[in-house]
Every structure is written in structure tokens, then in C-alpha cells.
Amino acid sequence: MKNAIRISCNRSNLKVVRDFVSTYLAAYSLSDLHLNQIVLAVDEVVANLIIHANSEDDTQHLDLRLNVDNQVFGIEIEDDSKSSYTPSSYREPDLHEHIRTGKKGGVGMALVNRIMDRVEFSTTGAHNVCRLYKKIA
């Protein structure tokens, strides 16, 4: 089972990432709903890294690696963008305010934080790693 891919920072690769995660998790007989949640959380982080951290620069890439250990799904997403995400900057979205102001973005990390059991971001020099974990049984 393929457990690692490298993608260029193009938003057309979001579908590639979703298919990669779905195919990997097919062996674990998750419900449709549970599988969709994990795929969504990964999609949200990857979209942020492609669009915001790497400004959709096709020459940049993300490395993704999946595993399941002791019934916990884990994914590592690595990139070398200069602008790394700082979890301490996270604020719970006020949806009424988003609606009132017609704001399009800003709810992706809320989905990630509510779906996954553990969300970690770390930066060493210019190298960033995001790790997401979710119990699957």
C-alpha cells in the first residue's frame, strides 16, 4: 500500500491528495462519514499549505506520509515555505460575523481542529511539519 506522495503546490492536486488518503484508508473499513471527515481534515491543511503558505507556486512541493499505528491514523505533511502556520493565532470563527461581512475563508482550521484528535505544527529552520492524528477504531 502506497503511504507517501509528493505533490506540487497546485490546487488541482487537492483531489490527488483526497484520493490518496481514501485509497490508503480503504483497508480499514471506516464508515463513509468517518472517512470523509479524515479526508476533509487533510484536504483543509493541504489547501492552506498550497494556497497560503506556498502561494500556489508550482515549483514548491509538499510531502505527505500516512500511517496507522495502534488504531490511530496519522499523517505528516512537510513543506519548506517561509510562512509557517502558528497554531496560537487560531481563533474560533464567529459564523454570524462571517455571514454578515460576506467572508469566504477562515473556517478550515475549525473543521480540522474539531475533526482530528491531535493537530501539531512544528518548524525547524525553513522546514515545516504538520502532523494530524485520529483514532479510527
Binding site: 490546487r11 488541482s12 487537492l14 483531489k15 483526497r18 463513509d32 462519514l33 470523509n36 471527515q37 479526508v39 476533509l40 484536504d43 483543509e44 489547501a47 498550497i50 494556497i51 470563527p93 459564523l95 454570524h96 462571517h98 455571514i99 454578515r100 461581512t101 460576506g102 467572508k103 469566504k104 475563508g105 477562515g106 473556517v107 478550515g108 475549525a110 473543521l111 474539531r114 475533526i115
Partner: protein, 109 residues
């Protein structure tokens, strides 16, 4: 993502087919931004073939909702798959948007 339109005098139905992510949501945003959309009394979103939605797709609906309300246009979702409805629920958007099971119920509102 394929978007099919049907309209009557008062109602516009947009049928979404495929996956609504940060790549494809641009197409939906373009459709909902057209000024003539606000001439209808109701805009119904048929979600039967919508297999996936991410925050980018939700963001398109969130960003247009106030404008719809200001123009007295009802935005109503129907035939939504459970896994897509679940994404609305995780954020609490199911309480802020009108989501009904069937087209008949959407039409009756």
C-alpha cells in the same frame, strides 16, 4: 464540478455534481455572483450528486448568504448526502442555513 441550472419565473435550481473544494468552488462562486440570481425569490441547491464539500465550498455559501437575505431571496439546500450534511453540522452551519430532505419540501417553503 458540474453545475446545471433550471429556472422558473421565481425559482432557480442549481444542481451540483461532483466535489466542491478549493479548486472547484470558484465555479460556484461565479454562478452565485451573477446579478440575475438576486431576481429570483428562491435559489434551490440540489445536492444529490454533491459528493464532497470543503471549507472553500462552504465559504462560497457563507459569503453570499447576507446578500441573499438582504434581497429577500431564500437559499435552500435539498437532497444532501449524510457525509456532506455532517460537514455543515461540524461547523454549526446546519442551524444557520435552510437544509431540507427533498425538492418537494424545498419548493413548499
Amino acid at each position: 464540478m458540474k453545475i446545471t441550472q433550471q429556472s422558473t419565473e421565481n425559482t432557480l435550481i442549481l444542481s451540483l455534481d461532483g466535489e466542491l473544494d478549493a479548486s472547484s468552488s470558484v465555479l460556484l462562486d461565479t454562478e452565485l455572483t451573477k446579478p440575475e440570481v438576486l431576481n429570483y425569490q428562491k435559489v434551490l441547491i440540489n445536492c444529490q450528486r454533491l459528493n464532497y464539500i470543503s471549507s472553500a465550498g462552504l465559504g462560497v455559501f457563507i459569503s453570499h448568504l447576507q446578500q441573499f437575505q438582504d434581497a429577500d431571496v431564500k437559499l435552500i439546500f435539498f437532497n444532501m448526502q449524510e457525509k456532506v450534511h455532517n460537514v455543515f453540522e461540524i461547523l454549526g452551519l446546519d442551524a444557520l442555513m435552510t437544509i431540507v430532505p427533498s425538492e418537494a419540501e424545498a419548493t413548499a417553503i
